[in-house]
């Protein structure tokens, strides 16, 4: 069974490696975005689908990752001449962005850990956890919007306008050479690498003893606790990992558009992330990507035609899925496959 999964996964990755060769630059860029958002959906699926904790805070960690990346990368690599508030010139000296990438993953993870420590050790769960994380996202956004005149290092936070001219991710060997991933195709391969790595890591986590404990917490928290597992500790750990993943997605997004603003992680992003995971099927990991790809592809295709009606339709689909298909697309696929296997074959 495991081998079949590995083969299928390899084929999928190979398809994604080959895709840019046949697609136009526009679609390569779009594909990168879909993968980045897929990582965000993955971070939610890990904590919601596997551990049963619905977090609306992924948007906040996403934004935090983006902001940390933007601020550190610009402070380290660029010279900024400020003319007036959000009008500034940027001269990029170049260099590798490893430090910014690391910080942009670690910082949201640490915040998630602190928050998780506060909430899970107080036995905050269910609806209460949702509301606290939702408030966190909305209040974090409000705070950033009001930080108009402040700057960190040389970089003005910019309030609603956000930070622009964020340098692309650049790789290489520090102090020797660097290569900035300006080419959409090269950036796409970097994103693909990150996506594959996070998917493999999540798969490994979910199939380890640690993952079994997480599933046990989801299925019956009290019983897991009475088996002697410190449920709180595991919850904090998985929340930290999911915060780190959301941060990774945020920094990739920020580098993708060389731009981050409070509008990048608004209420609708959190809503959409939940919709992606629901549509794809929660608790399947790959479902998060299926959902985010399908939804974003349709959105890309239809939002020109539908404009306002798009979110209206999304709201409707959201309600229908909750009512009728709580297990999403992957759930339907699994059920079909099971029914094929179970149906008696007549010889």
């Amino acid at each position: 069974m495991k081998k079949i999964f590995r083969n299928k996964f390899l084929i999928l990755v190979l398809i994604f490696v080959a895709l840019p060769l046949v697609l136009s630059t526009y679609y390569v860029n779009m594909l990168s975005l879909f993968l980045i958002m897929g990582i965000l959906a993955l971070s939610l699926d890990l904590i919601w689908g596997y551990t049963g904790i619905l977090s609306f805070g992924q948007g906040a960690f996403f934004g935090l990752g983006g902001y940390v990346y933007a601020i550190t990368a610009m402070n380290l690599l660029c010279e900024v001449q400020i003319r007036h508030l959000s009008h500034y010139n940027v001269v990029n000296h170049g260099g590798t962005t490893y430090i910014s990438i690391l910080l942009a993953i670690i910082f949201p993870a640490v915040i998630a850990m602190i928050l998780g420590y506060f909430l899970f050790y107080a036995k905050v769960s269910g609806v209460y956890f949702c509301i606290i994380t939702l408030s966190l996202t909305l209040i974090f956004q409000q705070i950033i919007m009001e930080l108009v005149e402040y700057q960190i290092g040389n970089i003005p936070i910019g309030g609603f306008n956000g930070i622009t001219y964020v340098p692309r991710i650049s790789i290489g060997i520090p102090f020797w050479f660097y290569y900035s991933l300006e080419d959409p195709m090269h950036f796409y391969y970097f994103v693909l690498f990150c996506t594959t790595a996070s998917l493999v890591i999540c798969y490994a986590i979910c199939n380890s003893p640690f993952g079994s404990i997480l599933t046990a917490i989801r299925d019956n928290e009290i019983r897991t606790e009475s088996f002697g597992y410190d449920v709180r500790k595991y919850k904090v750990m998985v929340f930290t990992i999911s915060g780190a993943l959301a941060g990774l997605s945020g920094l990739l997004y920020c580098s993708w558009g060389s731009f981050i603003s409070p509008a990048s992680f608004d209420f609708f992003l959190s809503a959409e992330t939940v919709i992606w995971v629901l549509i794809g099927g929660k608790g399947t990991l790959i479902g998060a990507f299926v959902g985010s790809f399908l939804t974003q592809f349709l959105e890309n295709l239809l939002s020109d035609v539908l404009v306002y009606y798009w979110l209206l339709i999304m709201g409707g689909i959201f309600i229908l899925i909750v009512l009728l298909f709580p297990k999403g697309i992957m759930g339907i696929i699994y059920r079909l496959r099971l029914s094929i296997i179970r149906s008696p074959k007549k010889q």
Binding site: L54, L115, F118, L119, A122, K123, V124, G126, V127, Y128, C130, I131, I132, L134, S135, L136, L138, I139, Q142, I143, E146, L147, F267, F268, A271, V274, L278, Y308, Y309, L311, L312, M314, G315, G316, F318, I319, V322, L323, P326
Partner: protein, 290 residues
Amino acid sequence: MNFEIIATAIFNALSASSILIVSALGLAVIFGMMGVINLAHGEFIMLGAYFAYIFKSLGLNIWASMAIAPIPVALIAVIIERGIVRFLYGRQMDTLLATWGISIFLIQSIRVLFGPEGKSIPHPFPGTFEINGLFFPKYRFLLILITLSILLLMYLLFKFTKFGLKARAVIQNPDMSSALGVNTPHVYMMTFCLGAGLAGLAGSLLTPLINVEPALGLKIVVRTFLVVVTGGTEILLGTVAGGAILGSTESIVSLFTSTYFGNVILLILAILIIRIKPKGLISKVAETLK
């Protein structure tokens, strides 16, 4: 500390608390009864504000339009309850998600119907009154009185009417009360309707203070969630306690520093309260619905 600062601080705290309490009450009714957070609450508030605007545009008196705005909101809520929410009782998380879908749907419908820009409504009660050289807006003072009377009415409703008796029975033990002949689904429907109506009333009462736009619910709703979650499931006392503590702390901090800092303090305070009392300040929840 002189008199002026203290008086301003007290008035601001009372005013902020009353706004919070009146906008959280509808949410608290639904949360206290069903143990479910209605994520479409902000949109019911928004609908209340829009209906006040519609009735005013139709030529009604501003007070009359503010007074009858909750009725259509409650009717919409009945349709939503019958069509969607009633299939999800007992599935707490799914109810939360479905109401979130409803919230997106409502925001976007209003945006399509009325456009994304804000609407203006004439102020029903402009002007200020003066105490010792300090000026306070009259409408905010009126709002404090209105909040108190709504709370009193709710108390009477829950304590002295047949619906209140049934509702309290369902809160305590839904299975037992349904075995004793209480039509539980009907009580739930009435509660959802009442909660939405209260949200609509909050929306219409707040129109003079806020900009009437499709996303206005999102701006108010975070605080109301925090009020209800810190307050606990006891509908009236919990909301008053949560609203008073959060509202007065935020307004006093904002007065001495900035609104931005007030927001941060609000969130931190709420997290701290939940850290200490995870089920809220005042809480009695039906065991079977948890």
